[in-house]
């Protein structure tokens, strides 16, 4: 099977869908001629023409607002916000409009819309190129929120998102675009071409939203992760030797609680890791759910390892980022308790 980087896999998903369905349109800042600052849409304008893939004015609210109108018309817009940190101007259109259109119109109008955005840290991007705002979407009824951790999933999930009848927030951990970054920023990165999850099937296939996947079977502890943190978790497990079951959530909403529950009931221990700031992060919801559903199976408190509650700093990035050392410590402490 061909190996692709994650950004190539994402581009491939759009290519496949634009080819299959005339209604799929792709736009955003620098997305047209140039093909996106991360090259996620490279070649699509040349292939499908300027009215299917085009540059927009720099106005995130405009991008999503126009996309809502297009989606209501019957198109399937897949738009890019250049960095998740710049989605805030579009937040109203996402929350008040896209998420509620089906509900408030009793299904007369719908909003099959994908909002792609590079997310997460690790690229020396400081406060405005590093954020992980997933919890701001999971709190909003009517949205689905997806975070892939590898090229193969990214393509299948993005195809599913474009085919989804409802709005999907598609968060792309940008530090994973080129390889499975595990938090060891001082080591060379393995490219996806050397990783089996870099194997991306050709053509159309779907990774269904709402299904987590067990990345590593384990008996001692359940480690819940998504995006970049899946790889950080793998590294921490390898380094500590804790026999953790690592669940890659893939979709945060709808959440695959069944898989989580089954694992925690088995292991009796749970650690949750994410890059986003701690307070009211998605880890809080996971912790609450695990506790609600597995209380009588838990041997130790559910623990969270997250970004600190500060703005994402620039120079202290690796002190902020919940890397393998911090995750490893939490694994060991949870086992010792």
């Amino acid at each position: 099977m061909p190996r692709k980087t994650m950004i190539e896999a994402i581009r491939d998903a759009m290519d496949v869908m634009m080819d299959r369905d005339d209604n799929v349109v792709v736009f955003g800042e620098d997305v047209g001629f140039f093909g996106g600052v991360f090259r996620g849409t490279q070649g699509l304008q040349a292939k499908y023409g300027k009215s299917r893939c085009f540059d927009t004015p720099i106005n995130e609210s405009g991008i999503v607002g126009a996309a809502v109108g297009m989606a209501a018309y019957g198109l399937r817009p897949c738009v890019e916000i250049q960095f998740a940190d710049y989605m805030y101007p579009a937040y109203d259109q996402i929350v008040s409009e896209a998420a509620r259109l089906r509900y408030r119109s009793n299904g007369q109008f719908t909003c099959p819309l994908v909002v792609r955005m590079p997310t997460g840290g690790g690229i020396s991007g400081g406060q405005t190129h590093s954020q992980s705002p997933e919890a701001l979407f999971t709190h909003v009824s009517g949205l689905k929120t997806v975070v892939p951790s590898n090229p193969s999933d990214a393509k299948g999930l993005l195809i599913a998102a474009i085919e989804d009848p409802d709005p999907v927030i598609f968060l792309e951990p940008k530090r994973l675009y080129n390889g499975p970054f595990d938090g060891h920023h001082d080591r060379p990165i393995t490219p996806w071409s050397k990783h089996e999850l870099g194997e991306v099937p050709n053509g159309h296939y779907v990774v269904p939203p709402g299904k987590a996947i067990v990345r590593r079977q384990g008996a001692a502890l359940t480690l819940l992760a998504y995006g970049t943190m899946v790889h950080v978790g793998m590294a921490a497990v390898a380094e500590t030797g804790v026999d953790a079951e690592i669940i890659d959530l893939r979709t945060l909403l709808p959440l695959d609680l069944e898989t989580i529950e089954a694992s925690v009931r088995k292991t009796g221990r749970c650690v949750i890791i994410h890059e986003a700031t701690r307070t009211s992060g998605f880890g809080a919801e996971l912790s609450a759910l695990v506790q609600e559903t597995c209380f009588y199976h838990l041997e130790t408190p559910v623990r969270r390892v997250t970004g600190w509650d500060t703005p994402y700093p620039y120079a202290q990035e690796w002190d902020y980022f919940p890397g393998p050392a911090r995750v490893g410590r939490a694994l060991l402490e949870t086992m010792e308790q």
Partner: protein
């Protein structure tokens, strides 16, 4: 160190406040028929003046004059009159129903009936309005069922929106009336996107965006103008300037600009001002703008100069912030009376027939109301189900919502 006098903050203030004598001398009203009618493909820069004048057709004597007149047959005008009368009667009945506790809230159109009723007649099937809460005339002129409107207002068992939306936030795809969100200005840009979609699909449908004077200050107004200007979207951008935004007079949103229409000039978008209380003028300008859109000439901005005669909503009391008699002083008159007088002037109507029509309209509305009320009102009779509350959040209900519905015991 500095020679400059201290700065001071300028806060615009309306000409009069409660207790004062209404004064609309600042609203320069040109003679009916005096504004030229350019070709639809005129260079936007060559018709900038239209953003500073007011296009009017009906003069004081009830005659239709000038280049913007003459588009509508007598039958069409009579139909227009009927739409406005229905809207006014509908408003009166629903206001009363609100006072009777049959609904919690209502918003009326008094004085602004011509805007939405006349505009609607410039559209074709398939076109889409993205309205605000004060354009029910779009539905009435489209022939949407009065009963369905009322069922929405009553949130009863027949409410087409299943009780999920506040009164008057209608939605009717079939009638080209987009689901109203209640958030100001957000849907202006959606209209542009919808219009872009029509262009992308090489269709012929156009969109119409709606906004109030106050809401033009919202940032999504800018998004809409930028996108419409860049992609020459086939959309009509409507601004209903009814002089007030709840308690705030239009000067707060307009600031140092002469008019709201002028906002379009910086985008190269043709911008027109029209007498919003003149059914013929509204219709003519709407037609002109729709024609531009259909011919792929791009967007048009229209400012309707009108006046909100009633309260902002049933939660509002305008006597706290403007003179009670202000509406009497409004120089553009009443849209229903003006069209009625015109029809009488041209011999197509009479006071008698008007009275008779009033009775008929009232009858129609009351009949619809009775039927609607038989399906329940807000606190009595049939209502949407609790199960409906959990539906349509997504096309398919995800597990957590199924669990919650179960917890709710429904």
């Amino acid at each position: 160190m500095t020679d400059y006098a201290p700065l001071t903050l300028h806060v615009p203030e309306p000409a009069v406040r409660p207790g004062g004598t209404p004064d609309f001398s600042s609203v320069g009203v040109p003679r009916a028929g005096s504004v030229a009618r350019p070709e639809v493909n005129a260079d936007p820069e060559s018709i900038r003046d239209l953003a500073y004048s007011i296009i009017r057709v009906l003069n004081r004597d009830g005659k239709a004059i000038g280049p913007w007149g003459g588009l509508l047959s007598d039958e069409e005008l009579l139909e227009g009159l009927r739409h406005m009368m229905i809207l006014r009667t509908f408003d009166a009945r629903m206001l009363m129903a609100q006072r009777q506790g049959k609904t919690s809230f209502y918003m009326q159109h008094m004085g602004e009936e011509a805007v939405s009723c006349a505009f609607r007649k410039a559209l074709l099937p398939g076109d889409m309005n993205f309205p605000t809460y004060r354009q029910a005339g779009l539905l009435i002129a489209a022939g949407y069922s009065l009963g369905d409107m009322m069922c929405q207002i009553y949130s009863n068992e027949r409410d087409p929106l299943k009780g999920r939306q506040m009164p008057v936030l209608y939605s009717s795809k079939e009638d080209g009336f987009f689901s109203l969100s209640g958030n100001l200005a957000t849907q202006y840009i959606q209209a542009v996107g919808w219009a872009m979609a029509s262009a992308i699909k090489n269709d012929t449908k156009i969109a119409a965006a709606w906004i109030g004077d106050g809401a033009t200050a919202e940032s999504d107004f800018h998004a809409a103008l930028v996108f419409a200007s860049t992609y020459k979207a086939p959309v009509v951008l409507n601004i209903v300037n009814n002089q007030w935004a709840i308690s705030t007079f239009q000067g707060i949103a307009r600031g140092g600009s002469g008019t709201f229409a002028a906002r379009g000039l910086g985008f190269g978008i043709p911008a027109l001002r029209v007498d919003g209380n003149d059914y013929l003028a509204v219709h003519a300008v709407a037609k002109w703008a729709a024609e531009r859109a259909r011919r792929n000439l791009g967007p048009t901005l229209i400012e309707y100069v009108t006046y909100r005669v009633g309260a902002h909503s049933t939660s509002d009391d305008p006597s706290a912030y403007r003179p009670k008699t202000e509406s009497d002083a409004w120089p553009l008159g009443d849209p229903v009376i003006r069209l009625k007088n015109h029809l009488i002037t041209i011999g197509a109507w009479s006071d008698e027939r008007h009275k008779q029509a009033e009775a008929e309209v009232l009858d129609t509305v009351i009949t619809a109301q009775k039927e609607a009320e038989s399906h329940g009102t807000l606190h009595a009779g049939g209502k949407p189900s609790v199960r409906d509350m959990f539906e349509d959040v997504y096309a398919e209900m995800p597990p957590h919502l199924r669990w919650q519905r179960q917890q709710a015991g429904v």
